[in-house]
Protein backbone atom coordinates (compact mmCIF):
# COMPACT_ATOMS: atom_id res chain seq x y z
CA UNK A 1 0.00 0.00 0.00
CA UNK A 2 1.52 3.30 -1.07
CA UNK A 3 2.52 5.73 1.64
CA UNK A 4 0.39 8.81 1.86
CA UNK A 5 2.52 11.86 1.22
CA UNK A 6 1.77 14.84 3.42
CA UNK A 7 -0.32 16.91 1.04
CA UNK A 8 1.10 20.27 0.18
CA UNK A 9 -2.20 22.07 0.56
CA UNK A 10 -1.49 25.74 0.16
CA UNK A 11 -3.61 28.79 0.66
CA UNK A 12 -5.09 30.27 -2.52
CA UNK A 13 -3.33 32.96 -4.51
CA UNK A 14 -5.03 36.32 -4.47
CA UNK A 15 -5.05 36.91 -8.19
CA UNK A 16 -7.63 35.90 -10.73
CA UNK A 17 -11.39 35.71 -10.70
CA UNK A 18 -12.75 36.67 -7.29
CA UNK A 19 -15.39 33.94 -7.26
CA UNK A 20 -12.80 31.27 -8.02
CA UNK A 21 -10.58 32.69 -5.33
CA UNK A 22 -13.42 32.50 -2.81
CA UNK A 23 -14.16 28.91 -3.83
CA UNK A 24 -10.48 28.08 -3.41
CA UNK A 25 -10.64 29.48 0.12
CA UNK A 26 -13.67 27.36 0.98
CA UNK A 27 -11.94 24.26 -0.36
CA UNK A 28 -8.78 25.09 1.57
CA UNK A 29 -10.63 25.54 4.86
CA UNK A 30 -12.62 22.33 4.40
CA UNK A 31 -9.74 20.21 3.12
CA UNK A 32 -9.04 19.08 6.65
CA UNK A 33 -5.50 20.42 6.36
CA UNK A 34 -5.95 24.11 7.06
CA UNK A 35 -3.31 25.52 9.40
CA UNK A 36 -3.55 28.28 11.95
CA UNK A 37 -1.42 30.46 9.70
CA UNK A 38 -3.68 29.68 6.78
CA UNK A 39 -6.76 30.68 8.73
CA UNK A 40 -5.09 33.97 9.64
CA UNK A 41 -4.36 34.53 5.96
CA UNK A 42 -8.03 33.91 5.26
CA UNK A 43 -9.01 36.44 7.90
CA UNK A 44 -6.64 39.02 6.37
CA UNK A 45 -8.04 38.36 2.91
CA UNK A 46 -11.60 38.94 4.16
CA UNK A 47 -10.47 42.18 5.74
CA UNK A 48 -9.09 43.55 2.48
CA UNK A 49 -12.37 44.49 0.83
CA UNK A 50 -16.14 43.98 1.11
CA UNK A 51 -16.01 42.31 -2.31
CA UNK A 52 -13.93 39.53 -0.80
CA UNK A 53 -16.47 39.07 1.97
CA UNK A 54 -19.41 38.98 -0.45
CA UNK A 55 -17.65 36.50 -2.71
CA UNK A 56 -16.74 34.34 0.24
CA UNK A 57 -20.27 34.32 1.66
CA UNK A 58 -21.59 33.18 -1.72
CA UNK A 59 -19.09 30.33 -1.87
CA UNK A 60 -19.57 29.26 1.74
CA UNK A 61 -23.34 29.36 1.37
CA UNK A 62 -23.19 27.02 -1.65
CA UNK A 63 -20.79 24.74 0.18
CA UNK A 64 -23.19 24.43 3.10
CA UNK A 65 -26.25 24.06 0.87
CA UNK A 66 -24.49 21.36 -1.10
CA UNK A 67 -25.06 19.23 1.98
CA UNK A 68 -28.77 18.99 1.09
CA UNK A 69 -29.15 15.27 0.51
CA UNK A 70 -31.88 12.89 -0.55
CA UNK A 71 -30.50 9.77 1.05
CA UNK A 72 -31.24 6.81 -1.14
CA UNK A 73 -30.69 8.74 -4.37
CA UNK A 74 -27.04 8.73 -3.44
CA UNK A 75 -27.15 4.94 -3.06
CA UNK A 76 -26.74 4.55 -6.83
CA UNK A 77 -23.10 5.28 -6.39
CA UNK A 78 -21.63 2.27 -4.69
CA UNK A 79 -18.43 3.68 -3.28
CA UNK A 80 -17.16 0.26 -2.22
CA UNK A 81 -17.89 -1.13 -5.66
CA UNK A 82 -15.60 1.41 -7.28
CA UNK A 83 -12.59 -0.76 -6.53
CA UNK A 84 -14.05 -3.77 -8.39
CA UNK A 85 -12.86 -2.41 -11.73
CA UNK A 86 -9.28 -2.42 -10.55
CA UNK A 87 -9.56 -6.00 -9.34
CA UNK A 88 -10.82 -7.07 -12.76
CA UNK A 89 -7.93 -5.33 -14.45
CA UNK A 90 -5.47 -7.01 -12.13
CA UNK A 91 -6.97 -10.34 -13.11
CA UNK A 92 -6.23 -9.52 -16.75
CA UNK A 93 -2.58 -9.33 -15.87
CA UNK A 94 -2.08 -5.58 -16.13
CA UNK A 95 0.47 -4.00 -13.87
CA UNK A 96 -0.74 -2.29 -10.72
CA UNK A 97 -1.07 1.42 -11.26
CA UNK A 98 1.17 1.99 -8.26
CA UNK A 99 4.28 0.63 -10.03
CA UNK A 100 6.53 3.49 -11.03
CA UNK A 101 3.98 6.00 -9.82
CA UNK A 102 4.96 7.10 -6.35
CA UNK A 103 2.39 9.76 -5.66
CA UNK A 104 -0.29 7.26 -4.72
CA UNK A 105 -2.42 8.37 -7.65
CA UNK A 106 -4.83 5.98 -9.23
CA UNK A 107 -4.98 5.50 -12.98
CA UNK A 108 -7.48 3.29 -14.72
CA UNK A 109 -6.46 1.35 -17.77
CA UNK A 110 -8.09 0.22 -20.95
CA UNK A 111 -6.96 -3.12 -22.32
CA UNK A 112 -4.64 -3.16 -25.30
CA UNK A 113 -2.57 -0.37 -26.77
CA UNK A 114 -4.17 2.50 -24.89
CA UNK A 115 -3.06 0.97 -21.58
CA UNK A 116 0.64 0.90 -22.34
CA UNK A 117 0.52 4.43 -23.64
CA UNK A 118 -1.14 5.85 -20.53
CA UNK A 119 1.21 3.95 -18.24
CA UNK A 120 4.36 5.06 -20.05
CA UNK A 121 3.35 8.70 -20.03
CA UNK A 122 2.21 8.77 -16.41
CA UNK A 123 5.33 7.27 -14.84
CA UNK A 124 7.57 10.07 -13.66
CA UNK A 125 4.82 12.63 -13.29
CA UNK A 126 4.02 13.91 -9.82
CA UNK A 127 0.61 14.77 -8.44
CA UNK A 128 -0.98 14.15 -11.81
CA UNK A 129 -3.82 11.81 -12.47
CA UNK A 130 -2.78 11.00 -16.03
CA UNK A 131 -2.82 12.55 -19.48
CA UNK A 132 -6.42 11.74 -20.17
CA UNK A 133 -9.19 12.63 -17.79
CA UNK A 134 -11.64 9.82 -17.40
CA UNK A 135 -15.21 10.14 -16.19
CA UNK A 136 -17.88 7.54 -15.72
CA UNK A 137 -21.58 8.34 -15.84
CA UNK A 138 -24.34 5.91 -14.89
CA UNK A 139 -28.09 5.97 -14.63
CA UNK A 140 -30.36 3.91 -12.43
CA UNK A 141 -33.25 1.75 -13.64
CA UNK A 142 -35.72 3.80 -15.66
CA UNK A 143 -33.70 6.96 -15.14
CA UNK A 144 -33.15 9.19 -18.18
CA UNK A 145 -30.50 11.83 -17.64
CA UNK A 146 -28.70 14.45 -19.71
CA UNK A 147 -25.06 15.07 -18.93
CA UNK A 148 -22.51 17.46 -20.39
CA UNK A 149 -19.05 16.22 -21.21
CA UNK A 150 -16.02 18.42 -20.65
CA UNK A 151 -15.91 19.48 -24.31
CA UNK A 152 -19.49 20.72 -24.14
CA UNK A 153 -20.99 17.71 -25.93
CA UNK A 154 -24.26 16.64 -24.41
CA UNK A 155 -25.20 13.01 -23.88
CA UNK A 156 -28.65 11.72 -22.94
CA UNK A 157 -28.46 8.43 -21.07
CA UNK A 158 -31.35 5.99 -21.03
CA UNK A 159 -32.26 3.71 -18.13
CA UNK A 160 -29.49 1.56 -16.59
CA UNK A 161 -26.90 2.99 -18.92
CA UNK A 162 -23.20 3.46 -18.29
CA UNK A 163 -20.71 5.41 -20.34
CA UNK A 164 -17.05 6.04 -19.64
CA UNK A 165 -15.63 9.18 -21.24
CA UNK A 166 -11.91 9.57 -21.75
CA UNK A 167 -10.64 12.85 -23.20
CA UNK A 168 -7.11 13.84 -24.12
CA UNK A 169 -5.46 16.55 -26.20
CA UNK A 170 -5.96 14.71 -29.45
CA UNK A 171 -9.02 12.61 -29.00
CA UNK A 172 -12.39 12.25 -27.36
CA UNK A 173 -13.33 8.66 -26.58
CA UNK A 174 -16.52 7.36 -25.02
CA UNK A 175 -17.24 3.75 -24.24
CA UNK A 176 -20.91 2.80 -24.13
CA UNK A 177 -20.46 0.00 -21.64
CA UNK A 178 -24.16 -0.67 -21.26
CA UNK A 179 -27.47 0.66 -22.47
CA UNK A 180 -28.42 3.46 -24.83
CA UNK A 181 -27.24 7.02 -25.32
CA UNK A 182 -27.95 9.94 -27.61
CA UNK A 183 -24.89 12.02 -28.40
CA UNK A 184 -24.92 15.67 -29.48
CA UNK A 185 -21.27 16.29 -30.19
CA UNK A 186 -19.57 19.68 -30.37
CA UNK A 187 -17.47 20.21 -33.43
CA UNK A 188 -13.72 19.89 -32.85
CA UNK A 189 -11.81 18.85 -35.97
CA UNK A 190 -8.59 18.58 -33.94
CA UNK A 191 -10.16 15.91 -31.77
CA UNK A 192 -12.26 13.20 -33.40
CA UNK A 193 -15.02 11.88 -31.17
CA UNK A 194 -15.24 8.09 -31.05
CA UNK A 195 -17.86 5.94 -29.39
CA UNK A 196 -17.15 2.29 -28.77
CA UNK A 197 -20.03 -0.07 -28.00
CA UNK A 198 -18.68 -3.57 -27.73
CA UNK A 199 -16.94 -4.20 -31.05
CA UNK A 200 -18.78 -1.41 -32.84
CA UNK A 201 -17.03 1.89 -33.32
CA UNK A 202 -18.65 5.19 -34.28
CA UNK A 203 -16.36 8.04 -35.28
CA UNK A 204 -17.55 11.61 -35.77
CA UNK A 205 -16.29 15.12 -36.14
CA UNK A 206 -19.31 16.95 -34.81
CA UNK A 207 -22.84 15.69 -35.07
CA UNK A 208 -25.84 14.14 -33.32
CA UNK A 209 -26.56 10.44 -33.26
CA UNK A 210 -28.12 7.63 -31.25
CA UNK A 211 -26.29 4.47 -30.21
CA UNK A 212 -28.18 1.54 -28.77
CA UNK A 213 -26.09 -1.34 -27.48
CA UNK A 214 -28.60 -4.19 -27.41
CA UNK A 215 -28.10 -7.93 -27.07
CA UNK A 216 -27.83 -9.15 -30.64
CA UNK A 217 -26.72 -5.94 -32.27
CA UNK A 218 -25.71 -2.35 -31.74
CA UNK A 219 -27.86 0.14 -33.60
CA UNK A 220 -26.49 3.49 -34.73
CA UNK A 221 -28.84 6.19 -36.02
CA UNK A 222 -27.67 9.56 -37.28
CA UNK A 223 -29.81 12.61 -36.59
CA UNK A 224 -27.44 15.33 -37.80
CA UNK A 225 -24.09 15.43 -39.57
CA UNK A 226 -21.93 12.55 -40.75
CA UNK A 227 -20.47 9.59 -38.91
CA UNK A 228 -18.36 6.59 -39.83
CA UNK A 229 -19.38 3.26 -38.38
CA UNK A 230 -17.18 0.18 -38.42
CA UNK A 231 -16.67 -3.13 -36.71
CA UNK A 232 -13.51 -2.47 -34.71
CA UNK A 233 -13.12 -5.13 -32.04
CA UNK A 234 -10.19 -3.50 -30.25
CA UNK A 235 -11.00 0.07 -31.12
CA UNK A 236 -8.19 -0.14 -33.68
CA UNK A 237 -9.49 1.92 -36.61
CA UNK A 238 -6.13 1.75 -38.35
CA UNK A 239 -6.26 -2.03 -38.87
CA UNK A 240 -6.29 -3.17 -42.50
CA UNK A 241 -9.55 -5.06 -42.53
CA UNK A 242 -11.58 -2.23 -41.04
CA UNK A 243 -14.02 -0.88 -43.61
CA UNK A 244 -16.02 2.03 -42.25
CA UNK A 245 -19.43 2.85 -43.62
CA UNK A 246 -20.40 6.49 -43.87
CA UNK A 247 -23.82 7.44 -42.51
CA UNK A 248 -25.62 10.73 -42.93
CA UNK A 249 -28.66 12.23 -41.28
CA UNK A 250 -31.58 9.80 -41.48
CA UNK A 251 -29.34 6.75 -41.93
CA UNK A 252 -29.32 3.83 -39.57
CA UNK A 253 -27.23 0.67 -39.43
CA UNK A 254 -27.15 -2.44 -37.29
CA UNK A 255 -23.86 -3.95 -36.25
CA UNK A 256 -24.39 -7.56 -35.30
CA UNK A 257 -21.95 -8.18 -32.47
CA UNK A 258 -18.58 -9.35 -33.83
CA UNK A 259 -20.00 -9.61 -37.29
CA UNK A 260 -20.77 -7.46 -40.25
CA UNK A 261 -22.70 -4.26 -40.56
CA UNK A 262 -26.19 -4.57 -41.96
CA UNK A 263 -27.29 -2.58 -44.96
CA UNK A 264 -27.96 1.05 -44.28
CA UNK A 265 -31.65 1.82 -43.89
CA UNK A 266 -33.44 5.07 -43.28
CA UNK A 267 -35.36 5.69 -40.10
CA UNK A 268 -37.93 8.14 -38.86
CA UNK A 269 -36.88 10.51 -36.09
CA UNK A 270 -39.67 9.33 -33.77
CA UNK A 271 -38.15 5.85 -33.78
CA UNK A 272 -35.03 6.96 -31.95
CA UNK A 273 -36.08 10.08 -30.09
CA UNK A 274 -38.97 8.69 -28.04
CA UNK A 275 -36.96 7.12 -25.23
CA UNK A 276 -35.50 10.47 -24.30
CA UNK A 277 -39.00 11.54 -23.33
CA UNK A 278 -40.08 8.26 -21.75
CA UNK A 279 -41.50 6.52 -24.84
CA UNK A 280 -40.00 3.28 -26.17
CA UNK A 281 -40.53 2.73 -29.87
CA UNK A 282 -39.72 -0.33 -31.98
CA UNK A 283 -39.89 -0.94 -35.69
CA UNK A 284 -39.29 -4.51 -36.82
CA UNK A 285 -37.00 -5.02 -33.86
CA UNK A 286 -36.11 -8.44 -32.49
CA UNK A 287 -37.66 -9.32 -29.14
CA UNK A 288 -34.24 -9.90 -27.49
CA UNK A 289 -33.24 -6.37 -28.31
CA UNK A 290 -36.61 -5.01 -27.20
CA UNK A 291 -36.27 -6.81 -23.87
CA UNK A 292 -32.73 -5.54 -23.37
CA UNK A 293 -34.00 -1.99 -23.49
CA UNK A 294 -37.31 -2.55 -21.71
CA UNK A 295 -35.56 -4.29 -18.83
CA UNK A 296 -33.48 -1.19 -18.23
CA UNK A 297 -36.74 0.50 -17.26
CA UNK A 298 -38.10 -2.29 -15.03
CA UNK A 299 -37.21 -3.72 -11.66
CA UNK A 300 -38.91 -7.05 -12.50
CA UNK A 301 -36.92 -8.19 -15.50
CA UNK A 302 -38.54 -10.13 -18.30
CA UNK A 303 -36.69 -13.25 -19.43
CA UNK A 304 -37.12 -15.65 -22.33
CA UNK A 305 -37.48 -19.38 -21.74
CA UNK A 306 -35.55 -20.06 -24.92
CA UNK A 307 -33.38 -18.00 -27.24
CA UNK A 308 -35.37 -18.73 -30.38
CA UNK A 309 -38.19 -16.59 -29.00
CA UNK A 310 -35.78 -13.69 -29.18
CA UNK A 311 -36.05 -13.59 -32.95
CA UNK A 312 -39.71 -12.61 -32.92
CA UNK A 313 -39.93 -9.21 -34.58
CA UNK A 314 -41.99 -6.42 -33.07
CA UNK A 315 -43.31 -3.12 -34.22
CA UNK A 316 -44.87 -1.24 -31.34
CA UNK A 317 -44.52 1.66 -28.94
CA UNK A 318 -45.11 1.96 -25.23
CA UNK A 319 -44.55 4.32 -22.35
CA UNK A 320 -41.35 3.54 -20.44
CA UNK A 321 -43.31 3.25 -17.22
CA UNK A 322 -45.95 0.95 -18.74
CA UNK A 323 -43.81 -1.77 -20.19
CA UNK A 324 -46.28 -4.45 -19.11
CA UNK A 325 -48.10 -3.42 -22.27
CA UNK A 326 -45.44 -5.35 -24.12
CA UNK A 327 -46.55 -8.52 -22.38
CA UNK A 328 -50.25 -8.00 -22.99
CA UNK A 329 -49.47 -7.20 -26.62
CA UNK A 330 -47.46 -10.37 -27.09
CA UNK A 331 -50.08 -12.54 -25.42
CA UNK A 332 -52.91 -10.96 -27.36
CA UNK A 333 -51.06 -11.69 -30.58
CA UNK A 334 -51.03 -15.39 -29.72
CA UNK A 335 -47.28 -15.47 -30.18
CA UNK A 336 -46.23 -16.41 -26.66
CA UNK A 337 -47.36 -17.27 -23.14
CA UNK A 338 -46.36 -15.12 -20.20
CA UNK A 339 -45.67 -16.75 -16.86
CA UNK A 340 -45.37 -14.74 -13.68
CA UNK A 341 -44.15 -16.20 -10.42
CA UNK A 342 -43.47 -13.73 -7.68
CA UNK A 343 -41.44 -10.97 -9.23
CA UNK A 344 -40.11 -12.98 -12.15
CA UNK A 345 -41.69 -12.66 -15.58
CA UNK A 346 -40.96 -15.31 -18.18
CA UNK A 347 -41.94 -15.53 -21.82
CA UNK A 348 -42.62 -19.05 -23.09
CA UNK A 349 -43.75 -20.54 -26.37
CA UNK A 350 -47.49 -21.11 -26.78
CA UNK A 351 -48.49 -24.59 -25.66
CA UNK A 352 -49.80 -25.73 -29.08
CA UNK A 353 -46.39 -25.25 -30.67
CA UNK A 354 -44.74 -27.43 -28.06
CA UNK A 355 -47.32 -30.22 -28.49
CA UNK A 356 -46.79 -30.38 -32.23
CA UNK A 357 -43.96 -32.87 -31.94
Amino acid sequence: MAEIMTPQITTPKSEGDINECAINWVLYLYSGHATKAGKQEHSDWLNQTQDHVNAYVRAEQWWRDMGYVEGDDLEQLDIDGASENLTALHAQGLQSERVGVDFGGRVRFFTGIAATLVFAVVAGLLYFSGISTQSQYSTAIAEVKVITLEDGSSVTLGGSTTIVASFSDDKRYVELAKGRAYFDVTSDPERPFTVQAGATGVRVVGTAFDVHKAVLATQVSVVKGIVNVAVVPDGAWEAEDVTPVELRAGDQVLAEHNNMLSDVRTFELYEVQGWRKGWLEYVDTRLSDVLEEVNRYRKNKITLSNEALGDIRLTMGMAADQTDNLLTGLEAGGLVRVERSGQAVRILPVINAENDM
Binding site: L27, L29, Y30, S31, M66, G71, E75, A82
Partner: protein, 212 residues
Protein backbone atom coordinates in the same frame (compact mmCIF):
# COMPACT_ATOMS: atom_id res chain seq x y z
CA UNK B 1 -55.66 18.35 7.37
CA UNK B 2 -54.85 16.80 4.04
CA UNK B 3 -52.56 13.81 3.76
CA UNK B 4 -51.10 12.97 0.42
CA UNK B 5 -49.32 9.64 0.31
CA UNK B 6 -46.99 8.71 -2.45
CA UNK B 7 -43.88 6.64 -1.90
CA UNK B 8 -41.55 9.45 -1.12
CA UNK B 9 -43.43 12.23 0.58
CA UNK B 10 -46.14 12.79 3.09
CA UNK B 11 -47.26 16.36 2.81
CA UNK B 12 -49.28 17.59 5.71
CA UNK B 13 -50.40 21.19 5.73
CA UNK B 14 -50.63 22.46 9.25
CA UNK B 15 -52.39 25.59 8.08
CA UNK B 16 -55.36 23.54 6.94
CA UNK B 17 -56.04 22.14 10.40
CA UNK B 18 -59.74 21.51 11.05
CA UNK B 19 -61.39 24.04 13.31
CA UNK B 20 -61.90 22.35 16.66
CA UNK B 21 -63.01 23.34 20.06
CA UNK B 22 -59.96 23.89 22.22
CA UNK B 23 -56.96 26.09 21.62
CA UNK B 24 -55.45 26.49 18.18
CA UNK B 25 -52.03 25.78 19.62
CA UNK B 26 -53.20 22.37 20.82
CA UNK B 27 -54.39 21.49 17.33
CA UNK B 28 -51.15 22.58 15.76
CA UNK B 29 -49.24 20.54 18.34
CA UNK B 30 -51.30 17.45 17.59
CA UNK B 31 -50.78 17.78 13.85
CA UNK B 32 -47.10 18.25 14.36
CA UNK B 33 -46.88 15.12 16.48
CA UNK B 34 -48.77 13.16 13.85
CA UNK B 35 -46.36 14.47 11.25
CA UNK B 36 -43.32 13.41 13.28
CA UNK B 37 -44.86 10.00 14.00
CA UNK B 38 -45.56 9.42 10.36
CA UNK B 39 -42.07 10.57 9.42
CA UNK B 40 -40.66 8.20 11.98
CA UNK B 41 -42.66 5.20 10.73
CA UNK B 42 -41.69 5.80 7.14
CA UNK B 43 -38.06 6.69 7.45
CA UNK B 44 -36.54 5.47 10.71
CA UNK B 45 -34.94 2.24 9.47
CA UNK B 46 -33.98 3.69 6.09
CA UNK B 47 -32.24 6.58 7.79
CA UNK B 48 -30.38 4.35 10.28
CA UNK B 49 -29.19 2.14 7.45
CA UNK B 50 -28.03 5.12 5.44
CA UNK B 51 -26.18 6.60 8.40
CA UNK B 52 -24.53 3.30 9.14
CA UNK B 53 -23.34 2.92 5.53
CA UNK B 54 -22.18 6.51 5.20
CA UNK B 55 -20.63 7.11 8.61
CA UNK B 56 -19.93 3.65 9.95
CA UNK B 57 -21.09 2.05 13.16
CA UNK B 58 -19.75 4.88 15.31
CA UNK B 59 -19.15 6.40 17.68
CA UNK B 60 -21.51 8.14 17.36
CA UNK B 61 -24.05 5.33 17.12
CA UNK B 62 -26.21 5.63 13.95
CA UNK B 63 -29.38 5.18 15.99
CA UNK B 64 -28.34 8.02 18.30
CA UNK B 65 -27.70 10.29 15.35
CA UNK B 66 -31.06 9.40 13.82
CA UNK B 67 -32.80 9.97 17.14
CA UNK B 68 -31.17 13.37 17.45
CA UNK B 69 -32.30 14.29 13.96
CA UNK B 70 -35.92 13.51 14.80
CA UNK B 71 -35.66 15.48 18.02
CA UNK B 72 -34.22 18.48 16.18
CA UNK B 73 -37.02 18.42 13.66
CA UNK B 74 -39.61 18.03 16.41
CA UNK B 75 -38.23 21.19 18.01
CA UNK B 76 -38.65 23.24 14.86
CA UNK B 77 -41.50 25.68 14.38
CA UNK B 78 -42.34 25.57 10.71
CA UNK B 79 -42.20 21.83 10.34
CA UNK B 80 -45.35 21.89 8.26
CA UNK B 81 -43.65 23.82 5.49
CA UNK B 82 -41.40 20.90 4.64
CA UNK B 83 -42.25 19.81 1.11
CA UNK B 84 -39.74 16.99 1.01
CA UNK B 85 -39.55 15.71 4.59
CA UNK B 86 -37.23 12.87 3.68
CA UNK B 87 -34.59 15.10 2.09
CA UNK B 88 -34.72 17.44 5.05
CA UNK B 89 -34.51 14.59 7.56
CA UNK B 90 -31.46 13.12 5.87
CA UNK B 91 -29.83 16.54 5.67
CA UNK B 92 -30.35 17.19 9.39
CA UNK B 93 -29.05 13.72 10.25
CA UNK B 94 -25.96 14.18 8.08
CA UNK B 95 -25.22 17.46 9.82
CA UNK B 96 -25.60 15.78 13.23
CA UNK B 97 -23.26 13.01 12.24
CA UNK B 98 -20.64 15.56 11.26
CA UNK B 99 -20.75 17.28 14.65
CA UNK B 100 -18.39 14.63 15.95
CA UNK B 101 -15.67 15.51 13.44
CA UNK B 102 -13.47 17.89 15.37
CA UNK B 103 -11.52 19.56 12.57
CA UNK B 104 -14.76 20.16 10.74
CA UNK B 105 -16.44 21.77 13.73
CA UNK B 106 -13.41 24.02 14.11
CA UNK B 107 -13.41 24.97 10.44
CA UNK B 108 -17.06 26.02 10.63
CA UNK B 109 -16.41 27.91 13.85
CA UNK B 110 -13.58 29.84 12.21
CA UNK B 111 -15.77 30.78 9.26
CA UNK B 112 -18.75 31.78 11.41
CA UNK B 113 -16.55 33.94 13.65
CA UNK B 114 -14.75 35.62 10.77
CA UNK B 115 -17.97 36.43 8.97
CA UNK B 116 -19.50 37.75 12.19
CA UNK B 117 -16.55 40.14 12.48
CA UNK B 118 -17.41 41.37 9.01
CA UNK B 119 -21.05 41.79 9.94
CA UNK B 120 -22.12 38.90 7.75
CA UNK B 121 -23.19 35.27 8.10
CA UNK B 122 -24.31 32.16 6.22
CA UNK B 123 -27.67 30.49 6.73
CA UNK B 124 -28.34 26.96 7.89
CA UNK B 125 -30.61 24.61 5.98
CA UNK B 126 -34.03 25.10 7.56
CA UNK B 127 -37.52 24.12 6.41
CA UNK B 128 -38.27 27.78 5.84
CA UNK B 129 -35.27 28.33 3.62
CA UNK B 130 -35.90 25.15 1.69
CA UNK B 131 -39.38 26.39 0.95
CA UNK B 132 -38.55 30.02 0.24
CA UNK B 133 -35.53 29.08 -1.87
CA UNK B 134 -36.82 25.85 -3.37
CA UNK B 135 -35.31 26.57 -6.77
CA UNK B 136 -31.94 26.74 -5.12
CA UNK B 137 -32.26 23.40 -3.36
CA UNK B 138 -33.68 21.73 -6.43
CA UNK B 139 -30.60 23.05 -8.18
CA UNK B 140 -28.39 21.28 -5.65
CA UNK B 141 -30.12 17.97 -6.28
CA UNK B 142 -30.12 18.45 -10.03
CA UNK B 143 -26.45 19.40 -10.27
CA UNK B 144 -25.47 16.50 -8.05
CA UNK B 145 -27.30 14.17 -10.39
CA UNK B 146 -25.40 15.60 -13.35
CA UNK B 147 -21.98 15.04 -11.88
CA UNK B 148 -19.79 12.17 -13.02
CA UNK B 149 -19.56 9.19 -10.68
CA UNK B 150 -16.09 10.28 -9.63
CA UNK B 151 -17.16 13.84 -8.92
CA UNK B 152 -20.16 12.66 -6.95
CA UNK B 153 -18.04 10.28 -4.94
CA UNK B 154 -15.61 13.08 -4.08
CA UNK B 155 -18.41 15.45 -3.07
CA UNK B 156 -19.98 12.76 -0.88
CA UNK B 157 -16.69 11.98 0.83
CA UNK B 158 -15.68 15.58 1.41
CA UNK B 159 -18.93 17.43 2.03
CA UNK B 160 -21.27 14.72 3.33
CA UNK B 161 -18.98 12.31 5.10
CA UNK B 162 -16.57 15.01 6.25
CA UNK B 163 -13.41 13.25 5.14
CA UNK B 164 -10.11 15.11 4.89
CA UNK B 165 -8.19 15.07 1.63
CA UNK B 166 -5.74 12.66 3.27
CA UNK B 167 -8.53 10.26 4.15
CA UNK B 168 -10.05 10.46 0.67
CA UNK B 169 -6.63 9.88 -0.90
CA UNK B 170 -6.00 6.90 1.34
CA UNK B 171 -9.26 5.25 0.34
CA UNK B 172 -9.38 6.14 -3.35
CA UNK B 173 -5.84 6.89 -4.44
CA UNK B 174 -6.88 10.27 -5.87
CA UNK B 175 -4.43 13.08 -5.20
CA UNK B 176 -5.38 16.30 -3.35
CA UNK B 177 -5.08 18.18 -6.65
CA UNK B 178 -7.62 15.85 -8.24
CA UNK B 179 -9.91 16.10 -5.23
CA UNK B 180 -9.93 19.90 -5.12
CA UNK B 181 -10.32 20.14 -8.90
CA UNK B 182 -13.41 17.97 -8.80
CA UNK B 183 -14.93 19.78 -5.82
CA UNK B 184 -14.35 23.04 -7.62
CA UNK B 185 -16.08 21.74 -10.75
CA UNK B 186 -19.12 20.80 -8.65
CA UNK B 187 -19.23 24.27 -7.07
CA UNK B 188 -18.86 26.00 -10.43
CA UNK B 189 -21.75 23.95 -11.79
CA UNK B 190 -23.94 25.39 -9.02
CA UNK B 191 -22.72 28.91 -9.80
CA UNK B 192 -23.49 28.46 -13.50
CA UNK B 193 -26.99 27.19 -12.74
CA UNK B 194 -27.59 30.16 -10.48
CA UNK B 195 -26.34 32.69 -13.04
CA UNK B 196 -28.38 31.06 -15.78
CA UNK B 197 -31.50 31.23 -13.63
CA UNK B 198 -30.89 34.86 -12.76
CA UNK B 199 -30.48 35.61 -16.43
CA UNK B 200 -33.83 33.98 -17.20
CA UNK B 201 -35.56 35.87 -14.39
CA UNK B 202 -34.15 39.17 -15.64
CA UNK B 203 -35.42 38.45 -19.12
CA UNK B 204 -38.88 37.76 -17.69
CA UNK B 205 -38.78 41.01 -15.73
CA UNK B 206 -37.76 42.94 -18.80
CA UNK B 207 -40.63 41.46 -20.75
CA UNK B 208 -43.17 42.28 -18.05
CA UNK B 209 -41.87 45.83 -17.84
CA UNK B 210 -42.29 46.24 -21.56
CA UNK B 211 -45.96 45.48 -21.25
CA UNK B 212 -46.74 48.42 -18.96
Amino acid sequence: MTTQNNNEMTEIKLSEALPVTGSEEAVVELNKRRFIDSLYKQHWSGLCGWLRRRYGAGPPDPEDVAQEAFEKIAAMDNVGDIRNPRAFLYTVAARSALMGVRWLVQARKHVDEELKKQGDKVEEITPERIYMERERFNSVLKEMAGLSNKQREIVIRSRIQGQTYDEICAETGWSPAVISRNLKAAMLALYRAEDAHKGAVNDDNKQTKGKD
